[in-house]
């Protein structure tokens, strides 16, 4: 790997050094932050978990200097050490620390396959815990886990990181790799409503 810090036994993702998944400038800036230099230097997966538990906000680069957040630094550290999928799933599935969840979800979105991404991130859409997001001007904004996950799945850009392309759910369903979305209660309620609407409009036409 080009960067000597990255573990040489690390696999390449999407054909490139996993570090390249983040923008070079952001990467360099994150390595310059005191957070990185003081605390992220020799993290292993276990110690990374401890650090992740201490997080209290998410975000990309903020301020006039485009300073990266600790969230970003930890994400990059994860990209460097490349924990296994089970660990990442554990991150996502944990119940107590929402920022750990989001970190895991983000990492999976960057490095996981399409099927995995949909499989693990969709349940998070039902999680409506509140999060603190730091905007580009440095102020704090309140957001929710499901909003972040929606952004991860739908748009190609989140927290100043360009997300790799994944197939549409529709395509995967047609290919048979994914099952259609399981009906949540909300979905059922919605469908009921729709049915009623349709019947009403039909009645009106007639």
């Amino acid at each position: 790997m080009a960067n000597p810090i990255t573990d040489p036994s690390v696999k390449s993702i999407t054909g490139t050094n996993p570090e390249n998944l983040e923008e070079k400038i952001l990467l360099d800036k994150a390595m310059e932050t005191t957070y990185w230099k003081e605390q992220c230097f020799d993290l292993t997966t276990e110690t990374l978990v401890d650090k992740a538990m201490e997080l209290d906000h998410i975000g990309g680069a903020f301020g006039g200097n485009r300073e990266p957040t600790p969230f970003m630094c930890l994400l990059m550290k994860m990209l460097q050490i490349q924990p296994e999928e089970d660990i990442v799933v554990e991150f996502i599935k944990n119940e107590h620390y929402k920022y750990v969840t989001v970190l895991g979800a983000f990492y999976l979105r960057l490095t996981g396959t399409d099927v995995d991404v949909y499989r693990y991130l969709e349940p998070l859409c039902n999680d409506y815990r509140k999060l603190r997001l730091i905007a580009s001007d440095g102020s704090f904004v309140s957001t929710h886990v499901d909003e972040v996950v929606e952004e991860l799945l739908e748009s190609g850009y989140c927290c100043d990181v360009a997300l790799p392309r994944i197939e549409k759910r529709w395509t995967l369903e047609n290919l048979g790799l994914l099952e259609p979305r399981e009906k949540s209660s909300v979905l059922e309620g919605y469908e009921c409503k729709e049915e009623r609407k349709r019947k009403w409009s039909k009645m009106m036409d007639n």
């Binding site: 859409c125 509140k130 704090f140 499901d146 929606e150 739908e154 759910r169 529709w170 979305r181 909300v186």
Partner: protein, 444 residues
Amino acid sequence: MSVTAGVSDTALAVRDKLRGKIGQTKVKRYWPGKAPDFPEGAVRPERVDDSDEDGDIVMARADALEKAFPSRDSYFDVGAARKDDPRLRRLAESRIDNREEVRADHRRIRQAEIVSTEEEEREEHMEAEEEDEDALEERRRRIKEKLRQREQEEVALLPEEEEEEAEEEEEEEESEYETDSEEEMTGMAMVKPVYVPKGERDTVAERERIEAEERAIEEKARKKLEERKIETKQILVEKIQEEEMIQKNLEMEANIADVDTDDEVNEAEEYEAWKVREIARIKKDREDREAMVKAKEEIEKVRNMTEEERREWERRNPKPAPPPKQKWRFMQKYYHKGAFFQDQGDDRSATAGTDEIFKRDFSAPTGEDKMDKTILPSVMQVKHFGRSGRTKWTHLVNEDTTDWNNPWTFNDSLRSKYNAKMAGMNAPIAKPKGSKKLKDWERK
């Protein structure tokens, strides 16, 4: 070539030292004039001749050096060369009688000193007269007279100063010469007193120089102060920026508390909010799917239609007519729109799309095109008028340069007769009608 050619001398020296071959060199302090401690076996200088002393000391020293540091180059004898050095030889053989005096002369500090003031000069002048021999006395008398004359004239006429100065210079030179010889003869410091005008006095010049230096020093000090000021200002600016950053960070800390991420609060509200979001998402998803399905179905339908149905369908859903083509002006420049980012992305999450600018009419005249180029003289009806190497090719007839005044091209009756006889000029060439046989073939 020795084997040690590629290795540096220092490396070799170090190696040898470590191995104990070369002893540690103790360099004794040198006192000038003191006989150095010669190592055993060195040739002691013989104190026979005074003049040889110096040369031999030099030689002895060279020997000592030789012993201490045996020269490495073995293929030519450096030791001998040292002794044969012509310079050393010359030094040894030089016979300066009063070396001490020469050395004292070297060591004498040469600086400007007040040679004489007017009064002193006059006094000395008197003294000198008494002591000299006749020949010199006469000279002196002459000079004295000249001096007196000059003094008188000085008061009267100023512009004659130049001549005086010239004279004085000569006299000064003479006097200096005289003073030198005087020194030799008498051994006392007798300086010929000659008047030095203010402009040529060394002392005055020196004083001015000193003053100039002082001023320069003051200037430097002032500049340093200014630079210091600038530096302190910069430091101040940096400090202020740092403080602002700290302030900001503090505010950030405060902001964190502002945004409440406590999930326990207002659980019901949160749930409602989430529900709204979820429904929106589902709706969006549904719509996307339906659109995709619809598009596919339509394509299938159209493909499977027969000719007439297709025509009917096209009539009903006409393709969006291309914008009507505008007529371009005379010599209007062609601008290509660019091939990318023309269509909106299909995907909802597409990041690249069309820009408003592409909806403009690209055949509209711009800038230079707005001017009517037909009114220009034909020379100027060219792209980039004024540049070299551009010709506007119009058409063949326009570019025809035949000289119609020639007898063989002149269009008169003779020519027309000739033209009539030429092939192909009479009747228009008829197009082939096509044979009957071929026509039948088609119909069949």
